[in-house]
Symmetry: C2
Subunit: 338 residues, 2 copies
């Protein structure tokens, strides 16, 4: 069955330079996939190589000369969003020309426009931003909300937990995933009232495998399959985690180039080989390599790739969108919450 995805080609730090090769890469892998490209025609052509007709006929380029920059304030971005590549890509989903939208652009604008243009699923109070977090054992946890809602009540946290569990079941192939609430460990003040009430709701629900609170220092240790928080704390935690990982990896890379003078090329080669595995494992914690985040709770699939995504990361984000469409995530959430 053919499947059409709308791509915002202008989003992210590098625009068509990375979005075009990523799209071609995914197109080669999925023979029935089609893309709607939204962005500057000339810029897109510049990075579009001589490709086989079997690929090119599955791409339709919708030219637009406007785009939302990642540093534009969201209120302004929304006000002047008409005719931008991001808005047109989301509108394509709204009009059923595409089943999903992927962008590496302005997160606030993507969330704002998606909430305005795409209907939330009936019964869902708030859509949430969800992502797969790499864990130390090489697996993943699902984490949400990562910034779509700064203040949430117990019922909304409970909905996030249920949506997160469905996401984990389908994206990580899990049965009865372990669900936890992000909290702080100092007990008398054990969390905000909304978190305590959400815990009570989750404990009562036998369909949810609720395992209790999780603290910030355990996020990478795969103690839970689903980590639930409001968007403010989730965003603080995720950004802190990414910043720390990136800084430490950077520190290691820097030092690696300052070898002592007696260090021969032969020696360097061996050292590089030995450290390679380490770096590969570390790289999984580098946010630039992530697949990005998805907006959960809407009628359609909306995937946000990291602004600093390279071509592989953007390709992975597109593949995530495909998986979510193929697994009918929105429909499954709808059925579950009915």
């Amino acid at each position: 069955m053919s499947l059409t995805i709308a791509l915002d080609m202008m989003g992210g730090d590098f625009g068509p330079r990375i979005t075009v090769p990523a799209a071609i890469q995914v197109l080669e892998k999925y023979p029935t996939l089609r893309f709607l490209f939204f962005g500057d025609h000339n810029a897109i052509q510049q990075y579009l190589p001589q490709i086989d007709k079997s690929l090119s006929q599955r791409i339709i380029v919708h030219h637009c000369d406007r785009q939302i920059f990642s540093d534009t304030a969201i209120t302004q971005a929304l006000r002047y969003s008409k005719g931008t590549s991001l808005r047109l890509a989301i509108e394509a989903v709204q009009k059923n020309s595409a089943v999903a939208c992927v962008s590496a652009g302005n997160t606030g604008a993507l969330m704002g426009l998606s909430k305005i243009l795409i209907q939330p699923l009936p019964g869902i109070q708030r859509p949430a931003l969800v992502s797969l977090l790499p864990t130390m054992n090489g697996l993943h946890s699902v984490m949400l909300d990562l910034g779509a809602n700064i203040e949430t009540n117990a019922e909304q946290l409970y909905q996030f937990a249920r949506m997160g569990a469905i996401f984990a079941e389908n994206m990580l192939d899990l049965v009865y995933p372990r669900v936890s609430l992000l909290n702080i460990g100092i007990e008398a003040i054990k969390g905000l009232p909304a978190i305590r009430e959400a815990a009570t709701l989750l404990e009562k629900d036998i369909n949810i495998n609720y395992i209790g609170f999780i603290e910030g220092d355990q996020l990478l240790n795969h103690y839970a399959d689903v980590i639930v928080s409001d968007g403010f704390n989730g965003n603080i935690a995720l950004k802190t985690l990414e910043g720390t990982a990136k800084n430490i990896i950077q520190l290691l890379k820097q030092n690696q180039s300052t070898h002592p003078i007696w260090c021969t090329n032969w020696f360097k080669q061996i050292l590089r080989h030995m450290l390679k595995e380490k770096y590969q494992q570390l790289q999984s914690f580098n946010p630039d390599k992530h697949s990005g985040a998805s907006l959960l709770g809407l009628q359609s699939v909306i995937v946000k790739s990291h602004g600093s995504s390279n071509s592989n990361a953007f390709a992975t984000a597109i593949e995530h969108a495909i998986t979510q469409v193929n697994k009918n995530i929105p429909e499954k959430i709808l059925n579950e919450l009915r």
Copy 2:
């Protein structure tokens, strides 16, 4: 001038095994320093070596056979706190037998008892937990509140900022330290109302060098000298940072031992030497090596050492208490906020 500090010898994961050697180490360095040891006499004696009279006469051991364990719920810990090493150490400060208290024990109990037993400075609405955060350039930022208050209003965040600035001026020898508020970057929803209002208060105050919001991924990059948040977000951010750093360091250590078979001892030695500097730099991000946190806004100096502190970390925590006493931090906060 003689200075007496009360030590909870039983706190932390290792109790007297690390608190006794740490105390001796600091005692040797400060010839007029005196300690009140609170804890089990036998356990303390076991780790107290044959020491010179010049040292031993500056220690008074107050035996008690009760202690608060780090996993005890705070409500229970407070209810049954009478006669415990932690409470007695804080009471020694309350009764002016000591000028400061240091413990590696139950954080919740330490904060709770300190708030009950030690008066807050006049005008201070809430004491806050403050710590020095290592930064990538080898310096430090001051971060507060790390968990003493989960919900704070704008005025309280503003007070934290002012206390944090005084702490940074004195502990980091800075003039006009750069103050920031921890926030998330998605603009339309730019933070909770209290954070936005606190920003307005800080912008108006010419005595504060307020530089704006900071996000979680910039905490280690020394963009600000003082990072202010409520205790919930601060705790989430700090724990996430520590957990990530610890996990990545662990990952590197693990892999280091799995050398290929052709790896000779000679080669291993060189490799170890080359990686040593890296690890030393990384170790500054290891929470076990930190000096701990202080409760700011009270009449006296209360320092909490990390539960997993080794002897050096506990010694550093004691030295931090000495510095805070010598620099009259409580008095300076009082004068500034008057």
